[in-house]
Amino acid sequence: MNDLATYNFAYLDEQTKRMIRRAILKAIAIPGYQVPFASREMPMPYGWGTGGVQVTASILGPKDVLKVIDQGADDTTNAVSIRAFFQKVADVAVTTKTKEATIIQTRHRIPEEGLREGQTLVYQVPIPEPLRFLEPRETETRKMHALEEYGLMHVKLYEDIARNGHIATTYAYPVKVEGRYVMDPSPTPKFDNPKMHMSEALQLFGAGREKRIYAVPPYTEVVSLDFDDHPFEVQKFDKPCALCGAENVYLDEVVLDDKGGRMFVCSDTDHCEDRRDCGHAGHMLARQEAAE
């Protein structure tokens, strides 16, 4: 049994990679359309990024530089685990720097720094179907996409407004791609939606358990659904990042003590470190330095 544990470059066999690449090409040709593919069992659990991992494994070459983030951070456990997986099975160079990466696999965030041509952002997607929670049946939702029948989604958003005075969707906020398909941007906060629009980078989405791949090619129109009198808005934070002082970035709330103490810090750890290296300092960092 000792000769069992040999695996191909990047784990997947070449035939499987070819099958996935075909699905990716089709997805790029029809932006926002969910292409069914024969997702494989991966050596990590479904729901933990198997779709993203399969997409990355299929496009990864020996010269690529890989960055993996989860919640915007390079050091969250699952990001560490996926990065280690590709180091092990593909011996590929890895980085935490957004600038240096050729492929960035992500869960729940888009890096703050603008991506450029030649970079690929691979999203891990749990539920690829934006209409799923309005209609649980795949047979029905595929029909709705085919007929461009998105009324139900607008009704849902309208009901939000009627009930709450505003749209109560904060993440996985639906977008329309190139004026045709309504697409789930994966559970990124809606804060990140505008970054998808006319992005220079190729954006690929992999849903392993649900067996779907979809894509947004570079320079593609991605519009968040809204109404004329209730335009789409992103989250705003009252304070800048406590460590690097950045404004207009997505912040995580960190509980400091049991007396209601909170601080807000960049969710994108690389962006935050970069700014601190350039001499920016938020109030917590400044206070720390003053104390020293």
Binding site: N8, Y11, A38, D75, N78
Partner: protein, 369 residues
């Protein structure tokens, strides 16, 4: 000063070291061998082989040991290995009529050609804890008949009279599907449904099968036959022009016979539900056959009124490796999305309090206009 949590890598490595320690347990006790698992926990090995769709007792036993006895984890490990194996081809359908039967019972006839053969079954044991097992007391040699004779299938007896529908045939020119190589699509043909059920979670299928018995999609079932034994697996080699034997697998087959009152298109007759699984698992084979029959609503123009009849519901949720992954992924960090929700709830709370204090918020005014 707050310091962001770092060192995921070291934490993961240490967690895995601890896991390995806990898996091994007390080092003064001998480690169980793979062969011991194969021989003495055979039904655990069978379940892992069945739901991983890989017939290899040693590898399944290794997976069971590696998973510390967690069946779904073992199934997962074995599947992740199976998926990397090349496909040389697809075997011919196994012929269970030529099975070397070790157990065979029918509930529809008192006696029948080949007889009722109990075999190694828990049925009729009294479930009393057996203290003699603690000290590994000697076990009697079993009394077994020479196997060999082919035993007629009960469904063939009924078929001779024309009282039961024919054995399931796919339409002419139908190419047999493979769930593990093609994306799923609904509605799904019966061959693929059976593959999904054969790989499906035993507990889930058991519960669904049970629900049909309690009136949620009733199918009026009788166990035509359950048989367990070895069948030959053959592969057709185009170069040779005939099929060659690849070896022998042990399977459990259940043919459920269901009452059917007939419809505008079909005369009254018995219909079938089919179950076939690797190894010995009557519970799984029987559950599978009940669910298979329940899912055949389109063939018999039956209304879908219960979960067990709804193929998209059943097939999409039967896979325990998928299910456990997605349920357990909730423990991964979700703080970015949670932050967005926190923000929303705080905002809605402000609105709520403002509304209750009588002052309309700006947004509410706008919405009302």
């Amino acid at each position: 000063m707050y310091v962001a949590v770092k060192g995921g890598e070291a934490a993961i490595a240490n967690a895995h070291r601890l896991l390995a320690d806990r898996r091994r347990g007390d080092r003064t006790l001998p480690s169980i061998t793979i062969q011991q698992v194969v021989e003495q926990l055979g039904l655990a090995v069978d379940r892992v082989m069945a739901e991983a769709s890989l017939y290899d007792r040693e590898l399944a036993a290794l997976a069971v040991r590696q998973a510390r006895g967690d069946m779904i984890e073992a199934i997962f490990i074995l599947r992740a290995y199976r998926t990397t194996l090349p496909r040389f081809g697809y075997s011919e359908p196994v012929n269970t009529a030529t099975m070397k039967v070790e157990r065979r019972v029918s509930a529809t006839y008192k006696d029948l050609p080949g007889g009722q053969l109990l075999g190694p079954t828990f049925d009729y044991t009294h479930r009393l804890l057996d203290p003699s097992l603690i000290d590994d007391a000697a076990v009697e040699e079993p009394a077994v008949k020479e196997p060999g004779e082919h035993v007629m299938r009960v469904s063939d007896i009924l078929d001779g009279e024309g009282l039961i529908e024919g054995d399931g045939r796919m339409p002419e020119g139908h190419v047999m599907g493979d769930l593990t190589r093609e994306p799923m699509e609904f509605p799904m043909a019966r061959d693929l449904r059976l593959q999904a059920l054969a790989r499906g979670d035993e507990g889930f299928l058991l519960a669904l099968a049970y629900s049909t018995q309690r009136g949620y999609g009733r199918t009026h079932p009788f166990v035509g036959e359950v048989r367990i034994g070895e069948v030959e697996v053959e592969l057709d080699l185009p170069e040779l022009g005939f099929a060659v034997s690849l070896g022998v697998v042990r399977v459990t087959e259940c043919q459920m016979v269901n009452q059917f009152m007939g419809s505008a298109k079909q005369p009254p007759q018995f219909t079938r539900g089919y179950g076939l699984v690797f190894g010995q698992s009557e519970r799984k084979a029987m559950s599978m056959s009940l669910v298979d029959r329940a899912l055949r609503t389109d063939e018999f123009s039956e209304d879908i009124v219960a979960p067990a009849q709804d193929q998209e519901f059943v097939i999409s949720h039967a896979d325990n490796v998928q299910a456990t992954g997605f349920v357990e992924h909730l423990k991964l960090p979700h703080y970015v999305d949670f932050q967005a929700e926190l923000d929303l709830v705080r905002r809605m709370r402000r609105d709520y309090e403002a509304a209750n204090s009588g002052e309309p918020t700006k947004e509410r005014r706008e919405a009302a206009e």
